[in-house]
Symmetry: C2
Subunit: 462 residues, 2 copies
């Protein structure tokens, strides 16, 4: 490992998409930057592993057409994408074992579909009342932030099947249960993504495409472009602000800087000692941001055999099985078959409480019911339980609890604290919780910092 510099203009804490975007923007403004990453790799909650020639995305993986900042990175760093496999029949399973086929063009004939679609339309209409330029100005902020999504649904949705569909949507998008989510946060997030369909659907929407070399590829290329400025295995223990500088402490030595941008996930940020202490609003916002619970399980086969049966590989389980949703995650050329299973919220907890052998059996049982006995004989089985990740402590993103937006966001969400600025996908308005939001947050923080540096010393930035 190269030695840490003693001095730089800006220290960026965290080398996920937010931290890398911050550093790249600052470099382009001529700012001398150092990136400190706690883990042994860059990418944060995005991690692509090559296993026997096949790329497995253990974390975030998709890119959609309105995620224009991530697409710009894909272009800039030469990381090709390909459309998700969306041919053939998807399958939904209900608690009584009944299955219904559906496709992206043809709705399921399962229960509650029409009620659920009306519900999505209603949520979109409510979300449209939130101005992303000033979400706290929303006239219904107090009403919506005072209740869980569970309570809102209880009061406004009659159809039990539509409720069940929305619960799965909440699990899939926020990796928590409707009881964990403030109604305001749901609507804010929907607004930033451009609507419920944009979050939920595949081709043309958030799950449109994947990266040929994995979703970590742009992060790896971005880190490479920063040369020796990115230091992995360097957890920050303390950030101490003085009158004219800030000192970032690590076990590998301290770095003094004019400004710091903290981009780490909220759980990791809460382990950093700040001096002076962060303002109460910022501490409360962080303490009120609770990570979702999600695991991804990848299974590899010789080929995507389900395609021969006219199946897309997509499955949605409305029953109590540990698996919530399955996608065909095969490589671009279809040379192997890969299924990815997601489990989240209550189902995650049931899943994680099993021992590894039981977990594998539970996953194979579900896949066997839908894709046949061949699905029960994978060549590779690998699982990633994000709550066990040392630095992220969960996934996909931290969710503010009811009341947090109303009570703590005005000063605590992302307002700089002296020489300390904030980025990370949780500080994004557009595509909050996604890689695209992370990049946007880094670009916003970099603009804050360059403005601050220029104000202090006009020659500091180009």
């Amino acid at each position: 490992m190269s030695a840490l510099p003693r001095r730089c203009q800006v220290v960026v804490v965290g080398a996920g998409y937010a931290g890398l975007a911050t550093a790249i923007e600052l470099r382009e403004a001529g700012v001398d930057v150092v990136v400190l990453e706690a883990a042994d790799r860059v990418g944060g909650r995005i991690w692509s592993e090559r296993r026997d020639g096949v790329v497995v995305d253990h974390g975030g993986q998709w890119v959609g057409p309105t995620q224009t900042r991530l697409l710009a990175w894909a272009e800039r760093f030469g990381c090709p994408t390909f459309q998700s496999y969306d041919v053939g029949r998807h399958v939904e399973i209900w608690a009584d074992g009944t299955t219904y086929p559906f496709t992206s063009d043809q709705h399921s004939e399962g229960p509650g579909v029409e009620d659920y679609e009306r519900l999505e339309g209603r949520l979109d209409a409510l979300a449209a009342t939130i101005d992303l330029a000033d979400p706290l100005a929303c006239s219904s902020l107090e009403e919506w932030d005072s209740q869980t999504v569970h309570s809102w649904v209880d009061a406004h949705v009659d159809s039990p099947a539509a409720r069940r569909r929305l619960a799965l949507a909440v699990q899939g998008v926020w990796s928590c249960e409707p009881r964990d989510l403030s109604m305001f946060h749901l609507l804010f997030y929907v607004a930033g993504a451009g609507g419920m369909r944009s979050l939920m659907e595949t081709i043309g929407y958030a799950q449109d495409s994947r990266f040929v070399d994995g979703a970590q590829a742009p992060a790896l290329a971005a880190a490479a472009s920063l040369g020796g400025r990115v230091h992995v295995r360097t957890p920050v223990s303390a950030i101490r602000q003085g009158d004219d500088a800030v000192t970032v402490e690590t076990a590998r030595g301290n770095v003094r800087a004019d400004r710091v941008v903290v981009t780490s996930a909220p759980a990791a940020t809460s382990h950093i000692e700040f001096e002076p202490a962060l303002p109460t609003s910022r501490r409360r916002w962080l303490a009120s941001s609770v990570m979702g619970d999600v695991a991804k399980v990848h299974l590899r086969y010789d080929s995507p055999f389900w395609r021969e049966d006219g199946l897309s590989g997509q499955m949605v389980a409305y029953d109590a099985q540990p698996v919530g949703v399955v996608f065909d995650n095969s490589p671009d050329d279809g040379s192997r078959g890969v299924l990815v299973c997601f489990t989240y919220g209550d189902r995650y907890r049931t899943f994680a409480a099993l021992d590894p052998g039981e977990r594998r059996t539970a996953v194979l049982d579900v896949l066997g019911r839908v894709f046949g006995p061949q699905a029960m004989q994978p060549l590779d089985y690998v699982e990633q339980l994000w709550p066990e990740d040392r630095w992220a402590e969960g996934g996909y993103a931290a969710v503010p609890v009811p009341g947090a937006w109303l009570e703590h966001a005005r000063d605590g969400w992302r307002t700089p604290c002296g020489r300390v600025h904030w980025a990370g996908t949780e500080t994004a308005t557009v595509w909050n919780g996604y890689m695209d939001g992370a990049i946007r947050s880094g670009e916003r923080a970099a603009a804050e910092v360059t403005a601050a540096l220029a104000a202090e010393s006009p020659g500091a930035v180009r």
Copy 2:
């Protein structure tokens, strides 16, 4: 400061009531114990300061007749108590400026009193369905933990005035707003206190009596009885478990022990590094426990002049003023007059955002309206903003967010993690959130530890 021992049987982290109770119980079982306290004093969220001859309780202060463990400590350590002043007229103020007198025997004629009393009865009946020996067995756990108190009230209480009264009760008891509180947590807490009246009322209930020398007096006496075993100014940075011992790290050196009992407030606990990492359920429970926001302001006068006007000094403000509730906090002999003002939840945030001069003016304005111009000329004005406290980071207690009881409590609430045990008022069933609950939690944890030590080595405990 005396040197830390290198080795002991049990390290107790925190010297609030929970930590002191743990240590005292362990000593009585013949266990060699060391108590490490981060702050420069014992007592935790209980802190009595003598100001110009008058004891000011900046934190918890009352003791009630069913708080039998705290009363036993008062007796044991020779700390006299006296009944709270509850003579004369209390006053409630509404948003339109209307005031209504009331006494402990005579209800206010203000709006919503009867509806509110029915509501208290209903809450008591619901709370009575929770078995404190196994709160998670409650058949309505999922229903109640999926909604905020705000939502439950919205669905079940028609009278706006009764809702307003309950909001003030929530602020007063939990120092947060109804939107912040899970309905299950409210009912669990009510069950552990023996009913809503038990929480809310003065003589015969939770606010029955005060300590002549302040509520910290029993803690100081308890610490003294532990001799040199209590070490203040000793924050714990890490707790590392090995196969046959656990090492507690501090800047003053490390202590090896057979067991550790962590009794610190959740915010302080979250700053400790644990190796191995705590189980996800415990981390999630801590991350889902958010401190309330409360300040206490004490004002001293030559005499309790309001008593001469037939006023008790008790005031309840239903309007938007920063002050929520005022009590007569004069010393036992009435030799001086002291009023204490509480502000919490949204009102706390409004209050804390003012500069100190504005805060004082705001408090004096309210007191002047009820107690006359004399109230605006205090001899002493002192405020304690608990969210700014370095170690507690709020008060009175941490409140689990909606969903936390259901999702994380079974394994995460207080289940020992290897050689690490848990106490603190947040782990109590009876009088959770109170000094009495803190003592009970320490006694429970000490029993766990002595059983574990005896199982490992029969001669380890008496």
